[in-house]
Symmetry: C2
Subunit: 344 residues, 2 copies
DNA sequence: CGGGCAGCTGGAATCGTTTCCAGTCAATTG
DNA sequence: CAATTGACTGGAAACGATTCCAGCTGCCCG
């Protein structure tokens, strides 16, 4: 069933049918009805390949997601999909392994599909530097800043990771914690983790707390399983900790489980601070005290920026969306006076 | 940059270039190299619209997901995407609201996109009866059986919900629980919930336990927030319960949170049984005792069945994949002798 | 009455591929 | 040496839409 058949059946030319289908103004009401009747009757749908071939555009948008365990991203992806659909766009999601090597692969796929725009969740700047040179379509990086790259087609939206991490540590220190462990991604390969770490360090300095990077931190993937193991390693090496800052809520869940398996209570024996503010934070036991990223804004603005870029609206933008602290039950006032007295 | 340019630059015909690009055998090694060199140099990618237009096929697969809160589906979607990618297919995910009205909308989109196959997670048979009449491409329904529909193009893969729910209740009853609440979807609109409910009822009968459908059950969406509220309503109405069976782990998390907020300990005061076996089950506090669906098999077999159908391999199939009980800490032996003594 | 114009229509060119088919060239064979 | 083969090759016709452009009305006005 093609446009030609419709033309034949409705007794007019293909051009007219096309005009009806695309709501062009200069076609008489009578003809429009006649054509629509035939179209309805046969449930005709124009062939998108032919359409896009002629129009020289795709409509599809690619969503690249790095680290599928990340529930924040799952939330974002869903919001984004809905928003795009409201704008008559549809999106293909590509999940990338947290390990880097699959990325070029995904970009390859992405280029084959010729999306008209790309949303990248959690990507590293290195990927862009290395592989996005030849990507010409507009691109929005979410939860990471690409300000320093200033590519012609690359915008970015992020939480102020440094400030958020600062506040997390500040919050813990303000409750008396002096020995705080930090669990996050690989500092050297992930800007996001690195910036959060910097925020931590600034807070430690400001409070005059010593911070031994080697001892008090432990790299981990952003998954419960990895964080579980990492927390055990960390606590074995550094048993004097009274609080742990996990750089994602999913990790925090793993950490809490690990602590309980070690016979420690949260928050009575040790406090845990999360990051992200995923929905489970409000339902877990104990409820997570966490840094809450604004997924609604990230999604809405991300989509808006991308669509604007696709429409050809000027220069890339690099925005920072606000975060807020979400109080839970996983952080307690530090009362281990005995411990602190004994140490040193 | 088109295939014609490549032809001109490499000094041969378009047909030859096309053959090189598609790895056809009858092209000399020399020509192949020459063409590939030009292709590499310019980073040429053939236009998929033209390709698919000519080949009369899309390669895309649509994944329809009903109820985005469902983490089991999130897990499945990711596995499926990876599997499809390994088979050189790419997929577009459409999230549907748990409310029905959006479905036709999605089907509309689906038809515009002309996917070559559809994977439907958690769909109701009514959707198919109503809206899938005209969908001609192969379709696989996951986590629900479509055996009774016997559409030409509709396969299905599911866990034996009835047996699984039976085992859940049987497990609880076997640990001394006599008053068990059930939290699930809307029995009348969701076959999945209904079959699980039937399994429950069979178990109650077999143990000779009374079961008041109105009092002891509470419908809820498959989300933490809804289950939280539903559990509170249920317990207010029916305070003598010693165990609650939640028809998804996500719901179980909400239930546990609600119970704690009511001052009840899990599992000491009241036991909670989940369903799905999502990864968080092993990390939550307490660890969930739950029915574990085999997501690996669901994904692998689902993809296999769909791809086979696309290749045109005969009749639709309706398979049942095994489940298993995952022991956690959210169910305890019922020792409320006082309670039981007092009642009646 | 004829020229001009507006409103509508349909033929045909176009988009970038794939693939059929006819053609070239060199090697092999009777 | 001519004929037959086989391995390659390139021109051109699809695929199904959009859109330019030319044509056909009917109408108004001078």
């Amino acid at each position: 069933m093609t446009i030609k058949d419709i033309a034949r059946l409705s007794g007019c030319g293909v051009a007219t049918v096309s005009r009806v289908l695309n709501n062009h103004p200069d076609v008489s009401e009578k003809t429009r009805c006649k054509v629509m009747a035939v179209v309805e009757e046969h449930g005709f749908q124009p062939n998108n390949n032919a359409k896009h071939l002629k129009q020289q555009v795709g409509t599809g948008i690619a969503i690249l997601v790095k680290g599928s365990q990340n529930m924040l991203f799952a939330d974002l992806v869903e919001r984004i999909q809905v928003l795009l659909r409201d704008n008559d766009r549809d999106a293909t999601v590509y999940y990338l392994d947290e390990d880097a090597n699959e990325v070029t692969n995904a970009i390859q796929l992405c280029r084959e599909r010729k999306p008209v725009g790309i949303l990248f969740l959690g990507g590293n700047l290195e990927y862009f530097r290395a592989s996005f040179r030849h990507v010409k379509v507009p691109c929005v990086l979410l939860t990471n800043s690409a300000r320093e790259l200033d590519f012609e087609n690359l915008s970015s939206l992020t939480t102020n990771d440094e400030a958020a991490a600062f506040q997390a540590i500040d919050y813990l220190a303000g409750r008396g914690h002096r020995k705080i462990g930090v669990l996050g991604g690989n500092w050297s390969s992930s800007q996001i983790s690195y910036r959060r770490l910097q925020g931590c360090q600034r807070a430690f300095e400001q409070w005059g707390l010593s911070f031994d990077l080697e001892r008090q931190t432990e790299p981990s993937r952003y998954s419960m399983a990895d964080a579980y193991e990492a927390a055990k390693r960390l606590l074995e090496r550094c048993p004097e900790l009274t609080a742990i800052f996990a750089m994602s809520d999913v990790m925090a869940i793993g950490v809490i489980r690990a602590l309980r398996d070690l016979g420690k209570r949260v928050p009575e024996d040790i406090s845990v601070m999360g990051y992200d503010g995923i929905s489970i934070a409000r339902y877990s036991v104990p409820r997570l005290t966490t840094i809450c990223q604004d997924t609604r804004q990230l999604a809405e603005q991300g989509v808006k920026v991308l669509l604007d870029s696709i429409e050809g609206e000027g220069r890339p933008v690099h925005k920072v969306v606000p975060f807020r602290m979400l109080d839970g039950e996983s952080v307690a006032q530090c009362v281990n006076k005995v411990e602190r007295g004994r140490s040193k």
